[in-house]
Symmetry: C3
């Protein structure tokens, strides 16, 4: 059994999704786990970890349209506005989308579906430095076998 | 420690929830894990993995009513419409409900609550062949003990 | 490798978030896992497990405002009303927020971000006794080292 943990820091440029798939794939490969799981955790309350379609960028644009209409900035219902009109909407978005994703590792590789990508979703309108903790665990690849 | 991984293929018949609880229970039993976790992952961007009430089918019907009003098919706000009016709504639903569930394994059994069931939720209006990857990991059941 | 599992029972006082962070931290410390994951699972279909901001209580109040407007009690669209006007809305909220959270364990400690807390979110208007199953797994702390 292997447990491998690595932190990834991402500098966001304001609201929107930043793809992490290649970074997670690289960490999985380095962990030399043959069969197991990779857990990707965003250590913030105003950014999410999301799995979604990664082929057509319009999917993320439409998702942003949907979310910004569902949880409008500057909503007068909100009391928690200390950091601005996007403060509480960012917390609501994070509650809805969640802070983490767990993906299987199969034959030493990240077992995403064909169209799935892993994204950090920045919910604040300003850019932030975000910390993502990646944990790979499972049965070790036998030595002599090339995985990934 | 044991890691056991198995793929389940599900042919959906269009939008709605298909129960997988018995299938996951069977895989947990076969894995001979005494204490641990089972992770169930849907490898698609327009179907979700969901835990919800499994006693009254009206719960899934009401959930569908809620979702189809929240994310209407043919919404004119959406740009990503290549595959039809249910294409982008399926991606939004998947972002909201997520692609996976993780459930404890306790004394060799799936430790769901009394009313909880595991469902694949097809978000497209047409049926699809869906791939679900199930990973059971944890401390092995001692030999001589019958689990599940 | 270590797998440690513990049940926590919580008596809720009606709708709202009850913080479990200290309880989960205590269980992680007791498990003596150096590097790994902790999984927190709510065994019910009308209460959720949620990670959100834990510094300003107004965040949870605003989240409740948002959810009760999004999924109103007594909504006439719903058929599943056997247990009252908050019955089906509780199932919808649980589908949106999910039943579990998984958090990394790093250097023997719960690796939450600075502002993140772990909450059981009771969705019913009446209080209930809720069962939460906590599973810690990962590489064991070496003896002689004090973790947490």
């Amino acid at each position: 059994m292997v447990v491998h943990q690595e932190e990834v820091e991402i500098r966001t440029r304001g609201r929107g999704a930043v793809e992490l798939t290649d970074e997670v794939r690289r960490i999985v490969r380095g962990a030399r786990v043959e069969t197991g799981l990779v857990h990707v955790f965003c250590r913030h309350t105003s950014a999410s970890l999301l799995i979604t379609e990664n082929a057509d960028p319009a999917v993320r644009e439409d998702l942003e349209t949907f979310l910004s209409d569902l949880v409008p900035d500057g909503d007068r219902r909100f009391v928690h506005v200390a950091e601005g009109p996007d403060d509480m909407p960012a917390h609501v978005r994070m509650a809805l989308l969640g802070p983490s994703a767990t993906i299987p590792v199969h034959q030493g590789r990240l077992a995403l579906g064909t169209w799935q990508g892993i994204f950090l979703y920045e919910h604040r309108t300003a850019g932030h430095l975000r910390s993502v903790l990646v944990t790979v665990s499972g049965a070790a690849a036998s030595t002599g076998r090339r995985s990934g």
